[in-house]
């Protein structure tokens, strides 16, 4: 990587990023920043649109939490007129989701400065709060202590896409002494432009950094393969899937939390609750009983069929499921096959067309 520079942190990498973000606003490159911040009444850092320099300097861009996917909010903010340009600090998975949304006209990337970080993973919300009570400086400590990182969500621990790909500015955290410095990389035309204005000086990356990335990659890959295998074995049988989703409440949390599910009103939610009693009886009579709400297998398979190709592996579906259905495992495993089958990688580039409307004219493929 050539477009890379180191910035001194003076002990707090989060604050360093905050200054950088504030700089973007000060230099009028953006009108606001979308990043995690703890509000006056919330305990969790939540995605927030920050417009004042002061608020930006108090935000928590590196907090290892993601109460909701910020991708959806970045998408929403970006759909405004050109005068609202926003710097969005997103996890790599959120960034990928945002790129997917952009392909479907749900986001306008030209209104965003895309900032992301090398992501060791996020903590589940409850765990974040628990750990923060033990570590008041959790947002910094998390990056310094590998045992804290091991507490990250299961999805994150088996995520191999922890380095942002389609991004303007990348915050580099791996293989660096974060008490001393963090790295900034820049990409795309927009990134180059930002680097020029921010007067970044291109420098060399250390071997230790490369090594750290390699190690993490290997560990994650291993975990991912294990997870895939486990999912294939335990779930992908007729009974397995039924068992896995057996306790589904039909709350549709997973669908609402999914950053790439973009429909205004999900076809499945309409379907599950729009049946008349006569039909319910009819169906019940056929097999002797009918599980209510009905058609939840159809709902989950529909979601897989519609979105598996676009699954960015953020794990929000699992995190929000009250019945602890391993939805992310199911989605990611299916998604990996679908994506390979279609030669598609979600979020890789906004120029890569959505596969389901792209078809080959070839006779036999």
């Amino acid at each position: 990587m050539h477009n890379f520079t180191l910035i001194k942190t003076k002990g707090d990498p989060g604050r360093t990023v905050n200054s950088l973000l504030a700089g973007l606003v000060e230099k009028e490159l953006v009108q606001g920043v979308l990043t995690l911040a703890v509000g006056p009444f919330s305990s969790l850092p939540m995605p927030s649109l920050l417009c004042s320099i002061e608020q930006i300097k108090n935000s928590s861009p590196l907090a290892p939490a993601a109460g909701v996917s910020a991708a959806v909010h970045a998408a929403r903010i970006s759909r405004g007129p050109e005068k609202f340009r926003t710097a969005a600090v997103l996890r790599p998975c959120e960034l990928r989701a945002l790129v997917e949304l952009a392909k479907l006209n749900q986001a306008r990337l030209e209104n965003l400065v895309l900032i992301s970080m090398e992501c060791p993973g996020r903590l589940e919300n409850r765990r974040y709060l628990e750990l923060r009570s033990e570590h008041p400086d959790l947002d910094v400590d998390y990056y310094l202590h590998p045992d804290l990182q091991a507490e990250a969500s299961g999805t994150c621990l088996s995520c191999t896409d922890f380095i942002p790909e389609y991004v303007h500015l990348g915050i580099c955290l791996l293989g660096l002494d974060l008490k001393q410095e963090i790295g900034i990389s820049w990409h795309q035309e927009q990134g180059e432009e930002l680097a020029r204005v921010m007067e970044f000086v291109s420098g060399q990356e250390s071997d230790s950094r490369r090594q750290a990335i390699k190690e993490l990659e290997a560990a994650r890959k291993n975990a991912w393969l294990n997870l895939q295998e486990k999912t294939a074995q335990e779930i992908s049988t007729p009974e397995g899937l039924q068992k896995a989703i057996g306790d589904c409440l039909g709350c549709f949390n997973c669908q609402r939390a999914c950053p790439v599910c973009f429909c205004r009103d999900c076809v499945s939610s309409r379907e599950a609750f729009e049946q008349d009693p006569e039909e319910l009886y009819d169906r019940g009579a056929r097999k002797g009983s009918l599980r209510l709400p009905t058609d939840l297998t159809m709902f989950h398979l529909t979601r897989l069929a519609h979105m598996a190709h676009a699954c960015v592996g953020c794990g929000q579906c699992s995190s929000v499921c009250p019945s602890r259905i391993p939805l992310a495992d199911i989605f990611r495993t299916t998604g990996a096959s679908t994506q390979e089958e279609l030669g598609y990688r979600p979020g890789r580039s906004p120029d890569e067309p959505v596969p389901l409307v792209r078809f080959s004219e070839e006779k036999d493929t």
Binding site: N105, Q106, R264, D265, V267, P353, V357
Partner: protein, 829 residues
Amino acid sequence: MNQNVRALVIGAGISGIRAALDLAEAGHSVLLTEKALAPGGLLLSLDRQFPDNHCGLCRILPGDITGRVWNACMRRGFGHPDIEYLPGVEVLDIQGTPGNLSALMNRRGLKVDPQKCTGCLECLKVCPVSQPYPLAPGLGQCKAVHPSAPHKPDNWLSINPDACTLCGKCMEVCPTGAIHAAEGNGPESMDKLSLAVLATGVEYFDPQLHNHLGCGHWPDAITSLDFERLISGVGPTRGVLRRPSDLGKVRKAAWIQCAGSRNLKLNADHCSGICCMIALKQALLAREKGMQCALFYMDLRTPGRNWQKYLNQAQQKGIRLIRCRPHSIVRDPGEDSLRIAYAPAPGEQRDENFDLIVFSVGRDPGYKLPAWAGQEGVIVTKGSERVLDIAGSLIAASAAAGRALRSFSDSCAQPGGEAYVSEHEHIHPSVLVVGGGPAGLSAALSLAEQKTQVVLVEKKDHLGGHAIKSMVPEVREQVLELRDKVQKHPEIEVLNEARLQSCTGPAGRFVARLLDARGHKREVKHGAAILACGTNPSRVETEDPRIINVFDLPEKLLSPDAPGNSSGRTVFILCSGTRREPADYCSKVCCQLALRQAIEIRRLNPESEVTIFYRDIIVQGDDEQLYTRARSDGVCFIPYLPEKPPVFQAGEKSVTVQGVDPYLKEDLQIEADRLILASGVIPESASDLARIFDIQSTEHGFLKEADVKYRPLDSVRAGIFVCGSGRNPVLAGEAVLEGEAAAQTALSWLARGRRNWPGSFVRVKTALCSLCAMCLQACPFKARYPDEHTGAMAVDALACQGCGACIAVCPNKASAWAGQEEEEMHELE
């Protein structure tokens, strides 16, 4: 509908059906007669057609098929509310005047009523006659009563009047009384016909009658028409290739081109045009089944934008192309295959055995139109004069329908006028024609003569395109006449030196924005557009005045006092820039032009020497006579292989051309006084037009039609039509025909839209639409567009053909079937 106009279309092959559809869609009532029972003509026999080796016959039906036309494969039948189909009727004569013609028709023999017939086939059991099956002559026998077509259900039976003895046994045995003598058996007159279109097609050469290379004697030597039946899934062998003689396995098959054409002894100085492609197709189909295939040819005629690729494909798939004409076919005692004697190269004589030999037959040299074809008011489709491919037949048929209507409106006062007055406020009644070459001129004039306003946009400062400089006097005159008529016609506004910038809006309500000659902005509202841009000669990069582009020659060198003309040697190199990557297509016009020029040079100076290096001389139909003439006038033709083209070097005294004479196996060095290069044409403005009108263009930048076989002049966008060389290189005469056909296609479309504004197939639930635009990408007809007013993705009802692709792709069913809820599709009552 204009009930006064009553059109007769003779022949229900695709030409006849196309002409009938055009007339009917324009609002006239049509009688469509067919000698056989089933409509479809030759296409009934051809299951798979080039260049995609599949079918698609259904696509000639109009787009908004609901309720108006049988929405089924046309092999199963054809129905249209304004077309009365008269099967089993032969037209014997037509007399009268346009507007009041009367036709003498013959309904002969017995008929089986498909309404009453149950398909029990008892009649077949009792029929005493045995005759060659009309759809597979030489490949099997059948009774006088037989299935009318391979794809027809059993209750569609024909009785061949020539074979039937009228013994009446079938009538006795029929349990439902479905068999009866034809209504009005015998000649009968039909009067008060406004016009007639003759679309019977040509007759094919029968090599058996001429004992051509033993055809008829050897059962395993068959014609290309028979081969279609042999390879058909519904043919006598159910598509398994077997030798007709003993049903033995076919391992090796040969095709022999030009059976009955390009033969002076048979008085056949013509090329049938499409046999090369048919043979390549048949060989490809046989190859798919594992056969070894060889094709004996002299020139592989694959003209135009698409066919060269097809040839390449055939070569890649391992079809042997052997450039020579076999001498004889024999069967050695004890052998079960046939032996072909041929000589592929000088001094090289070969014998090779084949299980099956196919004669590529074309137009019978003795074929003549009936005498009444010359009757005023009878329009003959080009496809009844020469063999045309599917697209060519359809284009010719539409042009004929247009000519018929125009000739009719000339002789009678305003008969068809009413049909073209806008009845629907949404459709703009005018047509934008882009391009003032032969295609554009003829399109504009055809439209105007059918009372349609036209805006003709031309980039240059004059109309007529390259054709006004044509060296063929008839072409020049034709184009100049068209130009005069167009310029004088009150319905046509000509905008020279105009620059088109954009075209927006849904079908029927287009708005084009352009800059006129003075640079002023102009908006043209139009219901339909015809894109008729042409091509330009590709440049020949040289400063040397002796090296000349074939397209520049007429002006530069044909005048007797032009420099170099009196001197000795002229060399042509054909295909010098085309038929290989990157311009892997044939420009079609160069061969013809070079032949004319060579003949002219020899005529002006009999002392001169003219040599033409060529890959394949590609001329079709009676243009073959140009080639024959050039040869007999002493032009020397030297074939070259694409991998070893002749090379040239400009020297002080002459241009040295080096090549190889394959007959003498000698290196040649010609000190030429001038070298003419046929570097082909390029569609310079087509890709720009494609972008402006949001239609597709090909890899080489030609305008792409919706369907290369069955909708050759439609684009994928409803209301946008394409024609002329910008679509596919054509000769000037063909461009004129395409222009007329495009005009008729546009008129049919406009009339259909006005008369019968379709209810949309697709409904958009605005509240659900997330504007993801997947429907836009999925729609093959560009019928989906973002509606600024509703903020949702709207449906262009005129363009929508109801395929449901947008609905399938819409994740939450914001796009839904107009008449059906998504839930109903899953039937969860």
